[in-house]
């Protein structure tokens, strides 16, 4: 195993980690702020990929424009799902279970709608102009699109951190996570906040779907694979923890990247092994906050 192999796999793992983090952070965000477990989060990721494909096919649009459209489209779809359906079961006894079932039904419905609209065959999206080749760095050839994903992911993380931590809407979102009733009493439109947060979270999923599309092919049923991967991320990092999700994504991304090369047959099993090990030794996640605290 020489150095260039190591670096190439590290970079490939890092770009996978960035995509995983984009999806998992949306999952964590909705859970942290709204206490909603969105089982269908992966389906919004898949929708994002299809929206990007459609934008490119219909308007022969630029890849970046298509990615933007994918994010916005997935965000709108998420807000519709939240305000029409999910909102109706808030506060019901045993809400958690019903949330899972309702979002599970979203998975089934979105999967089949995608099949009806786009068919079952694989769709491909080309890498954007200028990023199809590779870059030579210290004698090691690296695919430039993967590097771009890492860069974009980094920017998005910083932006998300800034919005959540340093701006007024971010503060409202975090305060809503802590005490919905109090925020309501202070004149914050809590239902609207929830819908917006849901929209932002699914938008992150949509971005990830569009960005991942050139690396994997776009198929119906991608939602469930993605949701399980991001769940593993969240289990490793600790639910409701932004940086935990980042670290979990990093671990899982690298593990998968190396497993694909070293044990190709069993790569998909290896990610579960990481999860099981985490569960045995630290069931609350590696980066769970000490006290019970959300976001």
């Amino acid at each position: 195993m020489d150095l260039s192999f190591l670096v190439v796999q590290l970079i490939s793992g890092l770009s996978l980690a960035t995509l995983l983090f984009l999806v998992a952070s949306g999952l964590t965000l909705i859970f942290g702020v709204g206490n909603v477990f969105n089982f269908a989060h992966g389906s919004f990721y898949m929708l994002g990929a299809y929206f990007a494909y459609q934008t490119i096919a219909a308007f022969s649009a630029n890849f970046w424009l298509a990615t933007l459209a994918a994010g916005i489209g997935a965000g709108i779809a998420g807000m519709i799902a939240e305000s029409l359906f999910l909102r109706r079961i808030y506060g019901r006894t045993e809400e958690g279970g019903f949330q899972i079932l309702l979002t599970y039904s979203f998975i089934l419905v979105i999967d089949d709608l995608v099949k009806i609209i786009w068919g079952t065959e694989y769709k491909t999206i080309l890498r954007p102009e200028g990023l199809r080749g590779s870059i030579e760095l210290f004698g090691i050839t690296l695919p430039s699109y993967n590097l771009a994903i890492i860069g974009i992911g980094f920017v998005l993380v910083v932006v998300a951190w800034f919005i959540l931590g340093r701006t007024r809407p971010g503060r409202i979102a975090r305060a809503t996570a802590l005490d919905r009733e109090m925020m309501n009493a202070m004149g914050v439109n809590v239902p609207l906040t929830m819908t917006l947060v849901f929209g932002i979270a699914t938008m992150l999923g949509g971005f990830a779907g569009a960005l991942a599309a050139p690396l994997r092919s776009v198929t119906p049923g991608a939602g469930i694979e993605v949701i399980i991967d991001s769940l593993i991320v969240v289990v490793i990092g600790g639910m409701g923890n932004f940086w935990g999700a980042w670290f979990g994504a990093l671990i899982l991304g690298e593990v998968i990247a190396f497993a694909v090369v070293l044990v190709p047959e069993w790569a998909s099993v290896v990610s579960y092994v990481v999860m099981v090990l985490t569960l045995i030794f630290k069931p609350e996640g590696l980066f769970a906050p000490r006290s019970v605290r959300k976001v």
Binding site: G96, Q99, I100, L101, S105, V109, I228, P283
Partner: protein, 320 residues
Amino acid sequence: MEIRNNYKEIVFWAILFVIFGSLPIIGSSSYHLMLASHILLWGLFAVAFNMLWGVTGMLSFGQALYFGLGGYGVGLMVRHVGSDWFVPGIGLGLIAAAILSFAIGLLIIRVSGVFFTVLTLAFGQLVWQITFRWYEFTGGDDGIQGIIPPGILSNKLFYYYATLLIVIASIWLLRRISLSPLGVLLRCVRQNPNRVSFIGQSVRYSQLRIYIVSSVFSALAGGLMAGVDNSIHTDMLYWTTSGEVILMSVLGGIGQFFGPFIGTAVFIVIQEFVGAKTEYWPLIIGLIMMTMVLLLPRGLVGEFEALKTRLQSRMVADRG
């Protein structure tokens, strides 16, 4: 959930005995026999699942794991050892389910609520992945065909009655458990785990016990199913199987002991009439699930009960 409701219970057992018992006598095809067996076995699976969710409040999205384990216990024995090993295969499936549910249970009852659900899903998918990949041993995506029960069990009619008796005995046992002190304790776990600790009972231990019980009965249903279909497939282990058993329970009503069984019957009949005609069956499942969750969360049996109670109280009010 109602603790005792005698007349309803009598009605249920009567339906089970009379309808399912007389089905072969009133003359019906082997197709009807298979349909009835499916209702019985999925019904047992759903009732066992509901011991977790409806009774104890633990929503598992991974019971397909044990259902499939039961099926593969039989299938692997028949494939690798010989078709005489059908019945020991069922036993093997049950033992494997007990051991595996104990091991996984120890890991996942450490978390509660949504996390529990997510972990059951993850473990279910893990076992599905392994079965899917390990082609030489499990047959992978091809599944295992030609599972013919040996001896007198190969008689369809005999197998059907054996299934009926085992399902009735199992549901009766689960009913006994749900009425036993353990069952009462499990309801307390669902409603108020803190108080369970206050009265000196262990929440985790109760959860682990019912998780194992539910899993073993799921494996029993899966093992018997292998003999009905004469084949098994990795789909038995797939997460959609877990989703289906949840839908069956929600359809009938998770707050009722017999609700999941009724829900199963309704689901399988719909599946036979609609599912065969459309390639978008998952879409229909999704829409049914959405309707139940949003509009009829108590399930068909539960909503019927609620309606009856409302009518009765209105009649009393009118008279008063």
